[in-house]
Symmetry: D2
Subunit: 356 residues, 4 copies
């Protein structure tokens, strides 16, 4: 499928992720980004009057402000995930082998994958808005730069009420409602959703013996009601585990409780260094200068976990090496400005000493 | 088994835990304590000259200093886990239905479970020392107070080189070498260890098709080599998952990398609030004053995660609500003192703001 | 999907099955039919000159002879599975909730599901022939009789060299190559095939310890290399298990060895009475006279297992109550005749006594 | 353990099995014997006056008659499994690495493993009788012949009412009640029984969605209530699957229905040729003359399946190559005789032709 298209990608094919949309009193939207090494991503605010120059469709000189994680190149924010001032969130996740980007189509709005998040969040206030805009879009293959080829992605778009998934398959673009508010990677979303049926009987409750009424089986540990939940780090298993965690999650309505719980849910699908070994011949295609190659870059880890309060415009994050929550508040910036503002990630462990 | 013995326990029967011993350049020893609510545990340093008064065996007026998590009652540190100045660590973990405490035996050192950690860490510099001392011990049933009955426990004792597990079964006390350096709860340790055989073929590597040479199966996600790893929160599944995470863990030798990775490993078996529902009629037997009962106390959570650098005497911890690492340094205290020093847990979320 | 179409079906929605295509020296094609009770199916030979009267497409007065299992109504053989004299086999299996039959389309050959097997086997000598014919077919919704409504099916068509699956989905008919030579039921075949990727590392060989090089894990039983193989009777689990059994099967080339092994493979996915409980309010729509309702009819069982040597035209079968292999030889009949010949199933247990 | 004892065994260490005790109106006792090749076992009746010569304990010149599967050497029936005229059944199953046979003990009845079945069935009418006799027995290591060394076994003893398991562990002989009526191989029985707790929530019923109340999960196949049941052929997985099949089995009370269903239950744990590959350097120690080594002897198969009506003394069996049930009736022999009577297994496929 996607014949003739070079299979090299902005974020590389080895990127894995989990995105979550979650509501208590407010709405929270965030994700794990799982990769072997970090690009120079930063928490990036795009104010209303930063001009989005699009390749094949009309530019946006004025639009909703947004905050999210981005790799900023030539002043252009290549967003991995973001939330706009209306509370709409959107994240791109690796979809290798299934994502298909199309030739330009004259009667459509031709939007490249790297323009997709700005294009949607710039003009849509809610999922319904996005659904309408999506009808007019053709997701075309157009690299950001020849040395920054596209990566294969699918997307989750969420507001407080609902989530949708956008997939550009070989048969055309598909938009699905996402009752789980969770997205990982392969296989296509409908198949992921179908797979949950197999876990239907898992429960947060103690199991009851339905195996045999003659054998006195007993519960010997709490948590046995969820035996069968997969524990590995593949995309299917992370999907099932993240949905189970999110759907059974219990927490208070306060900001700190909600944010804390959000990170605990993401923690259930975190990638610990060493558990997924990457053996790879091919060169890194995204400019060796941008990448800090260390001795452990062959193991997938959760580079960062994010949780954005989509109503307050606060972007919280943790990194693999810094478990303290760091936060950036969109409304502390001039949202009517014209320049992208970026905060580099604080990645050093912040230890609080009680007796030093 | 254990006939005639009241089945009420200090830390209650619903306590679940995971303990880990882990070495990079230094040795680290810590655990998750999983419970529905917190007692007033604190990071507690017992200096060398604090007199340990034992019920049936000779008191210790001078002993190794130690640091760990304890509930301090009447100036007595009821340790959940601790490490002494020689680098020996010991933790007690729930062992409901299998732990058996014995009648007093005249020719033995009669040590109550609540005295067990001080008794061992007070005099043993390494696991070998502990093994010798264990030969003389009878773990007898003797409550700390009538309103603080014993809890059913088994123990892991670790130094940098090796770990052992101590279980007081109905057939007598057993001491096992623990090649995994991991302990959770039921069933007895030998059975847990045996169970790992079933997961032998799991791997951090990509799977290879051995199912059928005629069918072109493909890897569609990283992490598929560990499909089959259990993802629920029961004691058996946590054991398998923690061992897999620890054994495949990769990290640098530095203090921050090691401590960070230790918490990531514990994170793989963390209990997220809501996923394990506790339905319980029975009263809390451990003084209602000490317990803050909230509306969510029916869900098991990881109250705290700890990681003690057993060589430097630094006790790091996180709590469910505070993801920042907090630390207490034993050597900042007067270790020749006579008084127990306690640092209450910092449980409030510490958010670092980048633009406020 | 399939809106407006009555959801009642010839073989009822509760039918489950497994079909297999298998070659040693000869080619064998057969299936398990899993149901709660038996219709009056019989081994049925349709000779070359039996006139097939089709509803909307041209009749076939002369065609390939075929043998298979059929419910014969008004002299019309409603085949469940059959093989023709050229060695082409075809079987229909339940596909509830996904099968969609279409409105009549003028420019196509409009073939009803109940005509599909005769239509294909009557004129195609191999899978390639069938693929061509399929291009012209529209699978239309047309009941055999108002009291014998259609059942939702998908089909496997196999010759000695290859197998294909035909599915009439809401988006149109799909034809897939089937490298496994196995078909069960839901979900659609592509999804079933994809699911096999998750079992890639299962093996007939002893497992090797890739879990941890530090822990001396051991093989304590033969067969541990396939731990993770699902053992329940759902359609997905039967698919995985049947493919594993077929692909790893070893047997001699002789007729008896081959037929015996074929039944052993089908045995791996047999439905034992009692393991799948059917609770059902709705009436049986297929003529109560035809059905022997007993007290145990609420449990799914493997009514019959069949294995047809597609080159010799011999149809072997076993029934749930008769484990002896019974056989009917197509070439013992007059294949140039005009009349369908049926052999009722021998369902009584045939015990061979050695000393009576 | 068992130090100093040669690890060579009568039936070889690669033997795997499943034994079942099952009651409808009558009581049925039988097993699968899983091996790579067949010894010259035969259905063997030992009449009441055949003198059992024991090595270290008093001979039995008169005893209960018995029927079962045995390898008869020098007129001595080495029983794999048998049932006596009182309806007591006993079977030996491989227990490699755990079975320990002891030095002679003067004050005990010293019975070798190869004498164990005759010794028990010769004098015990029911399980209670056996329990009493077991109290006096020492299972000593004494080979039948130097070229026929002992195999490591454990045993199930069953009457219509109950079953027990006998294991000679390194710590001594253990006798356990067996509420499942099923025995396979490793690990020790108590551990096998404990393991069933993990499957507590499996069911013959349709699953109900307890995973998430917000996600509309659906049952897409019958049998999904037992998802999680293991499908491989290791001893643990066979145990779980056989117990699930037996405990949920439904069948009529008649002889043919009961016998048929018994074989269906055994069928759920049958070993299909090719699925378990044996790689082995060591020589066969049991006389090459007795063994027909073919080209496929490297794959474990279910050599025979047996089902003995323990009340009527009828021994039914099937072999891997002969799916017809063959039967031998103990009461057709002179049970007051002095000579062992053997019926060789009918191993050729018996096909019933309907039109030849």
């Amino acid at each position: 499928m996607c014949s003739g298209y070079r299979c090299e990608f902005i974020m590389q094919e080895f990127l894995m992720c989990t995105a979550i949309s979650f509501s208590t009193k407010d709405h929270y939207f965030g994700r794990n980004l799982d990769l072997e090494y970090s690009y120079q991503e930063s928490v990036t605010i795009t104010p209303r009057n930063y001009p989005f120059i699009f390749r094949k469709t009309e530019n946006m000189n004025s639009h909703y402000a947004m905050i999210g994680m981005a790799y900023v190149v030539e002043d252009y924010p290549l967003y991995y995930d973001a939330v706009n001032e209306k509370g709409l969130g959107m994240a791109g996740l690796s979809f290798e082998g299934n994502a298909c980007y199309y030739e330009e189509v004259p009667e459509k709005e031709n939007v490249s994958p790297f323009e997709f998040i700005p294009y949607i969040l710039g003009q849509c206030a809610c999922v319904e808005d996005a659904e309408e805009v999506l009808l007019k879009i053709n997701v075309m293959k157009e690299d950001f730069r020849s040395d920054l080829p596209l990566s294969p992605l699918h997307w989750m778009i969420s507001d407080k009420e609902k989530s949708i998934v956008v997939e550009t398959l070989s048969g055309g673009m598909r938009v699905y409602p996402n009752p789980t508010g969770v997205l990982t990677n392969n296989p296509p979303f409908r198949q992921q959703l179908f797979g949950l049926n197999n876990y239907m009987s898992l429960s947060k409750e103690m199991p009851v013996n339905s195996f045999s009424k003659n054998i006195p089986l007993k519960v010997y540990s709490k948590g046995m009601g969820a035996i069968g939940l997969p524990g590995d780090l593949s995309s299917v298993s992370r999907f099932v585990r993240a949905v189970f965690a999110k759907e059974n999650s219990v927490c208070g309505k306060g900001e700190m409780e909600s944010v804390g719980q959000f990170f605990h849910i993401l923690g259930a699908v975190e990638q610990q260094k060493g558990l997924v070994h990457i053996v790879r011949e091919k060169e890194n295609t995204w400019g060796s200068n941008d990448v800090s190659l260390g001795e452990n870059e062959d193991y997938e880890i959760t580079i960062y976990s994010s949780c954005c309060n989509s109503e307050k415009g606060i972007y919280y994050y943790k990194t693999y090496d810094n478990s303290q929550i760091t936060a950036v508040d969109m409304y502390k910036e001039n949202l009517d400005g014209q320049h992208v503002v970026s905060y580099p990630l604080l990645t050093g462990q912040q230890v609080k000493w009680q007796n030093r």
